[in-house]
């Protein structure tokens, strides 16, 4: 078991180094992408600030509470994007181009290889800014660093990333039938905006969506409201930080099923 883990870590390191070498050939691409994504977070915070020129409460949440939610969800989402975003290209780069064949003949998990093939380094700046936002805002709204909060926070981070990973994996897997994953996943870009505002402001249909098919509620909204000490949804808040691994496992089974249907394009 430990031997396998060590083998994978070593391979990841090799992929990682190789990736950055080729990435640094286009230095300007990286620098401009990095600062562009930084601006994206700034614009998102500016928008929230503009909203709060009109009110001091959205669904009972104050300005700093919404900023906390934004940073917390961003940390989870972009942790996923930095390390696991490559699944976005499954259809276009791996299945259609026939690169999947190469992954299948190697004695390594094909899913691991897809993930390790690239990094979402453009999102690195978003991850940094969002994590900084959490650290900046938390003391302002009195989130204490108690052992319970730390434990819950760590669990919600792991579970949240697994929820998002499962979600992206499930959407990408449809590419085994359609040959395309990018359009399906771009739907998730739109829907993930729902992560930034309290669960209670949404209508019934969206609320159901956010705890079932698109479990952003379980991944982000409930854990954040627990940490902020918001009332309601007691059981869901506890259970949600345990469900991430289960959701990812289900998505993984779906991926295995898709993979079993894969036939090479022959190129």
């Amino acid at each position: 078991m430990m031997g396998t883990v060590r083998k994978y870590l070593e391979f990841y390191r090799l992929f990682f180094v190789q990736y950055w070498k080729s990435r640094m050939v286009y230095k300007w691409d990286f620098i401009l992408g990095f600062s562009g994504q930084f601006l994206a977070t700034a614009v998102s915070i500016a928008f929230i600030t503009l909203l709060y020129t009109q009110t001091n409460s959205i669904g009972g949440w104050g300005y700093y509470e919404i900023l906390f939610l934004s940073g917390f969800g961003g940390t989870i989402l972009f942790l996923h994007h930095v390390f696991l975003f490559n699944i976005f290209h499954l259809g276009e780069d791996f299945i259609i181009e026939g690169r999947m064949d190469r992954l299948l003949v190697r004695p390594l998990s094909p899913l691991f290889q897809v993930y390790a093939h690239g990094m979402g380094d453009d999102d690195l700046s978003k991850l940094i800014v969002n994590a900084a936002l959490v650290l900046y805002v938390a003391p302002k709204i009195g989130i204490a660093l108690t052992p319970a909060n730390l434990l819950y926070g760590a669990a919600s981070l792991v579970s949240g990333v697994l929820f998002i990973a499962g979600l992206y994996l499930a959407f990408a897997t449809t590419a085994f039938w359609t040959g395309k994953s990018e359009a399906a996943i771009s739907i998730l870009f739109t829907l993930s905006e729902f992560r930034k505002y309290p669960y209670s402001i949404y209508g019934g249909a969206v609320q159901v969506l956010l705890v079932t098919l698109i479990p952003i509620g379980l991944a982000i909204l409930f854990p954040a409201s627990y940490l902020l000490g918001k009332p309601g949804h007691g059981t869901l808040k506890i259970v949600s930080v345990l469900l991430g691994p289960v959701f990812f496992y289900l998505a993984y089974r779906f991926w295995r099923f898709g993979l079993s249907r894969y036939s090479s394009t022959g190129t």
């Binding site: 300007w28 401009l32 562009g36 601006l39 928008f47 771009s186 905006e193």
Partner: protein, 261 residues
């Protein structure tokens, strides 16, 4: 001469029509954006007194979306793709200026996007909300303003696009420009709600003339008598950005390197 231009525009139109699935996801994206805005502004209206109704706000944001989708111009992408592959020489060899080639290509693409991404959103908006469609005179002014918006957006994108000759990559520059446009133009936040101290900032930059101007003309947010002035502001910004773009092109041409030759 004119036939050359219509040919280029037609090619741009046809190229955009290949991506059918994209059309669907963009419409979906616009409608979900409006739904999210509806939830947010309803929640705000519950807690505070707004100077305008939630319906007014959503109609504004919806029309702003339609305007933005119909005036979209991506010069950075056009140049970036060709500079990186080295095929920009093909455009430079032709007997039509690079600027005209990009302009008519983008015009064709944007016409396709207006038909497939903006009109459906307008239709849905009119079905579910009490949108008052402008009368003939107002509609004519709106159409003129929309045209100026496209010119203006193109001119700004062209200025930024010239930087690609130095950086060799376009997508991140385009993203930076469109992020600033989105927050400053009215696409995300209705400019009529701006607090007084922010108005000078937003209205002294060109972005408001790209989306807010046609939007308030369409929704009847301004009396017709004020519109010539607003079109004048659009035209003035177009001239300024156009001049900057021309100067930037002169410098870019002087240092142009073709990769992979």
């Amino acid at each position: 001469m004119l036939r050359r231009y219509t040919e280029i525009a037609r090619a741009g139109f046809r190229r955009a029509s290949i991506y059918r699935l994209d059309t669907l996801t963009r419409i979906f994206d616009s409608l979900f954006f409006l739904l999210l805005m509806y939830y947010i502004w309803s929640a705000i209206a519950e807690a505070s007194t707004l100077s305008r109704s939630v319906t007014d706000i959503i109609i504004y944001l919806g029309i702003a979306r339609v305007v933005a989708r119909s005036t979209h111009a991506d010069v950075e992408g056009f140049i970036g793709e060709r500079v990186r592959r080295g095929t920009i020489v093909n455009e430079l060899k032709r007997p039509v200026s690079l600027r005209s080639q990009i302009f008519f290509d983008r015009l064709g693409t944007t016409a396709f996007h207006a038909l497939t991404r903006a009109v459906p959103v307008l239709a849905v908006l009119m079905l579910i909300l009490p949108v008052s469609f402008p009368g003939p005179a107002r509609f004519a002014v709106f159409a003129a303003s929309l045209g100026l918006s496209f010119l203006l957006t193109f001119a700004l994108s062209y200025v930024v696009g010239m930087a690609v000759f130095w950086t060799k990559v376009g997508w991140s520059l385009r993203m930076t420009r469109s992020l600033l446009t989105r927050i400053m133009s009215g696409q995300m936040f209705p400019l009529f709600l701006l607090p007084a101290f922010l108005e000078p900032v937003f209205y002294s930059l060109p972005f408001h003339a790209m989306v807010n101007t046609p939007t308030v003309i369409f929704t009847g947010g301004v009396p017709l008598s004020q519109t010539p002035m607003m079109l004048g502001v659009q035209a003035a910004w177009f001239l300024v950005l156009g001049a900057v773009g021309e100067a930037a092109w002169r410098r870019a041409r002087a240092k142009l390197t073709v990769q992979g030759g």
